[in-house]
């Protein structure tokens, strides 16, 4: 074993840092650090910069315009990007649909859609969850009935993240009612301008708008928009679950969150001393720092050792990674004491900042990030997956 970075890896890190210093617009970085929503225009602006550098799709093969990074490079980029305040790449096109098209799409689909992801013409969103079927994809009810060259889609999707900015959605829909519930599902691509497709915002716990509901009423979608075989969408969904591992632990984000936590603990005072010198609070910081240091190795070790074959690693990384991130959010909220409570939008508008603007949204961030252990396959579902793999859930 050797945990030092190779010369090649160090050179790459330097390149990333130079790139971020030169190309990341400071006003975008400032908003990221404040925890504000980045919005459509700035997201597209930044993703265009990344795309030009060839780094928008780090996991795609080079022949499709990807960067084909290994897990260590990915980690190095991620950590530097979080430090610098680069917005997270919106994952639905690049990290989810892209790999699906590369593995299951027709050449025509690949040639049409992949470049449009890279050049920003398409903003994809995800149509998996339905009311009453959050993590339980097998029970989904949105149905697609074939009518000549078209599917007629009826039903409802929910938790569609950033759908308000998207022009396209990929959906799991039921194409056969009989048989095992998993077997009648297909994966289709839907233009959001299709008549009969409506989107409505969902206001989240902290007041923000980042997820949506999507309603389908007799929406006509070409059968040619189906990816993979009919009724085999379950295979694609599982492929995606296993493929989403890179970054699933959120080590870069958590590392940056730890830095922010230490900063606020230095600024805040308790009993006349900096909060970071309060043993009860600083022991919590130290504990999560240790958990995160371990996770940094766990993440690289698992991603490196299991390249290709998705195993239980993704679930492990998801569970512990989200718990660590939520713990950091929790401490950052608590560090503020009463100053955590003002409703950010209003308090900031009044220009009465009680804390630095990068910390003012700590409570909102904490509440919003309760989603981390719920969305994308709840941590309970991940534990089920893991125990099926390790215990076999023997009867």
């Amino acid at each position: 074993m050797n945990f030092t970075f190779s010369e090649d890896e160090r050179a790459f890190e330097a390149e990333v840092e130079t790139f971020l210093r030169d190309k990341l617009p400071p006003e975008i970085a400032a908003r990221t650090h404040r925890g504000e929503e980045i919005g459509k225009a700035d997201t597209e602006r930044w993703q265009a910069i990344l795309s030009q550098k060839g780094w928008l799709a780090p996991t795609w093969p080079v022949e499709h315009g990807g960067a084909d990074w290994d897990p260590v490079k990915h980690y190095l980029y991620d950590a530097a990007a979080c430090r610098a305040g680069a917005p997270r790449t919106v994952p639905f096109g690049v990290n989810m649909l892209g790999p699906v098209l590369i593995a299951f799409g027709t050449p025509a689909q690949q040639q049409h859609y992949l470049p449009r992801i890279l050049n920003g013409k398409d903003w994809w969103c995800q149509g998996y969850s339905e009311p009453g079927a959050g993590s339980d994809l097998a029970s989904l009810r949105t149905r697609a009935e074939q009518d000549g060259d078209y599917y007629i889609i009826n039903g409802q999707k929910t938790w569609t993240t950033l759908g308000q900015y998207a022009n396209n959605i990929f959906c799991l829909v039921r194409t056969r009612a009989s048989g095992k519930p998993q077997e009648g599902i297909s994966f289709v691509l839907v233009d959001l301008d299709t008549p009969g497709v409506e989107m409505q915002p969902i206001k989240l716990i902290e007041g923000g708008h980042e997820v949506n509901e999507v309603f389908f009423t007799d929406a006509r979608v070409p059968v040619a928009n189906r990816v993979g075989e009919e009724n085999k969408g379950w295979t694609i969904a599982k492929y995606l679950l296993g493929h989403e591992r890179t970054g699933i632990a959120g080590v870069g984000l958590s590392t940056h969150a730890l830095t922010r936590l230490k900063a606020v603990a230095r600024q805040q005072t308790r009993n006349g001393k900096p909060l970071i010198e309060d043993p009860l609070f600083s022991s919590k910081i130290a504990e999560v720092e240790i958990d995160l240091a371990a996770m940094t190795i766990t993440n690289l070790r698992m991603l490196t050792q299991s390249q290709g074959s998705p195993g239980p690693e993704a679930s492990m990384l998801k569970i512990k990674g989200t718990v660590i991130h939520q713990t950091l959010n929790d401490l950052a909220r608590r560090a503020l004491g009463p100053a955590a409570a003002p409703f950010p939008a209003e308090a900031l508008a009044a220009n009465l900042a009680l804390v630095e603007d990068t910390q003012a949204r700590n409570a909102a961030r904490y509440f919003n990030n309760r989603k981390l252990s719920i969305f994308g396959g709840s941590n309970e579902i991940q534990r089920n997956i893991l125990s099926a793999m390790t215990l076999g859930n023997r009867r």
Partner: protein
């Protein structure tokens, strides 16, 4: 020993439940909770009429309660209804005005005069020794200068009780709200607070050395928050229990999944512990053990409150992440209670001082 509430307290509790169901049902709560002045006159008057404020003071001060269990009864009902009215501000003020002993307490007890206690300042959270606001005498008038921060209930208050340094002591003053620069805002969990700027603002001296009465008032306030939290936790537990029995996943009610069952059981046990420690604090409020018992309670409420808030959301899943579903608001309020009148660590440190 006797673990049954008195019939009087049971009546207050029931009356409050009915009143709050009428006046601040959760679906219309947003209007009060997130719009200035973060209080609805009708609700406030109704609270006054049914005696919710008078229940917070002893008979000797013109009220008809004032024991720890009276305070707990009122705030548990407020918590259960997730009422955003600034009753806590009134409680803190009543406690202090009772100590002053003049007629102002009567107006506070009817709710006719609305008070807010301005004590904390930026970066002196819960640390009364670091209060920096100054009172000086000029031509026989007392003038106050300083900033008070996150003053709960200030947006709707007519008068402020202000802590300030005065002739080497920590003194309490009465200030007309109209003479103070006020910036109001909503809290993330609903309800209003304000930043107050005193700039040689005229004030009336109420108490010269306010430390002891302030501590009593803060203890009463922390107890009230604990009781509010218990009320919230009961609602979250019941809502989660019902959801577990209703929602289906993988072809079965999620309440059938043993992992959730066991977590729900642990949650229920901790809620009983939270209730017990709050009752213990209520029984000792004002005793020699009062402050320590309140700190024990406020610590445990902070610890259990986070568990209950997080687990309620997690066991519900996505729906509890939405603004529309009341669980999110109950969870937020429960969480933010740990940010008021000292958090779990601050109260634990007080307990640690006398192990």
């Amino acid at each position: 020993m006797n673990f049954e509430p008195t019939s009087e307290r049971r009546m207050i509790s029931d009356a409050l439940a009915r009143l709050l169901a009428d006046h601040s049902d959760v679906s219309s709560r947003d209007e009060t909770a997130f719009q200035a002045p973060y209080s609805r006159t009708k609700t406030w008057q109704a609270l006054s009429e049914m005696g919710a404020f008078a229940a917070l003071a002893h008979e000797s001060a013109g009220g008809f309660g004032g024991e720890g269990f009276d305070i707990a009864t009122v705030f548990e009902a407020l918590g259960r209804a997730l009422c955003p009215e600034p009753v806590l501000a009134q409680l803190l003020s009543i406690q202090l005005l009772t100590h002053v002993g003049d007629s102002s307490v009567n107006n506070a007890l009817t709710g006719a005069t609305r008070y807010a206690l301005a004590w904390e300042e930026p970066d002196t959270w819960f640390d009364i020794e670091r209060i920096d606001t100054q009172a000086t005498t000029e031509n026989g008038n007392i003038l106050i200068t300083g900033r008070k921060s996150v003053v709960y209930g200030a947006p709707a208050a007519q008068r402020y009780l202000v802590l300030a340094k005065f002739e080497g002591d920590l003194a309490l003053f009465d200030v007309d709200a109209d003479t103070v620069e006020r910036h109001s805002y909503a809290m993330i969990d609903g309800g209003g607070a304000a930043e107050l700027f005193f700039r040689a603002t005229p004030a009336t001296l109420l108490i010269n050395d306010a430390r002891a009465p302030l501590q009593l008032a803060l203890d009463a306030g922390a107890l009230a928050l604990c009781a509010e939290a218990v009320g919230i936790m009961d609602v979250l537990r019941d809502t989660t229990r019902d959801y577990l029995g209703t929602r289906k996943q993988f072809g079965a009610h999620i309440g059938r999944f043993q992992a959730l069952q066991h977590r729900f059981v642990d949650l229920s046990i901790e809620i009983e512990q939270a209730r017990s420690i709050t009752q213990l604090a209520a029984s000792r409020l004002g005793d020699t053990e009062g402050s320590r018992s309140v700190s024990m309670a406020k610590h445990l409420i902070g610890r259990v409150g986070q568990l209950v808030a997080e687990e309620s959301i997690q066991m519900h899943g996505g729906i509890a992440m939405t603004w529309e579903y009341t669980v999110s608001h109950y969870a937020k309020r429960l969480t933010m209670i740990d940010h008021q009148l000292g958090d779990r660590d601050q109260h634990l440190q007080r307990v640690m001082q006398t192990l």
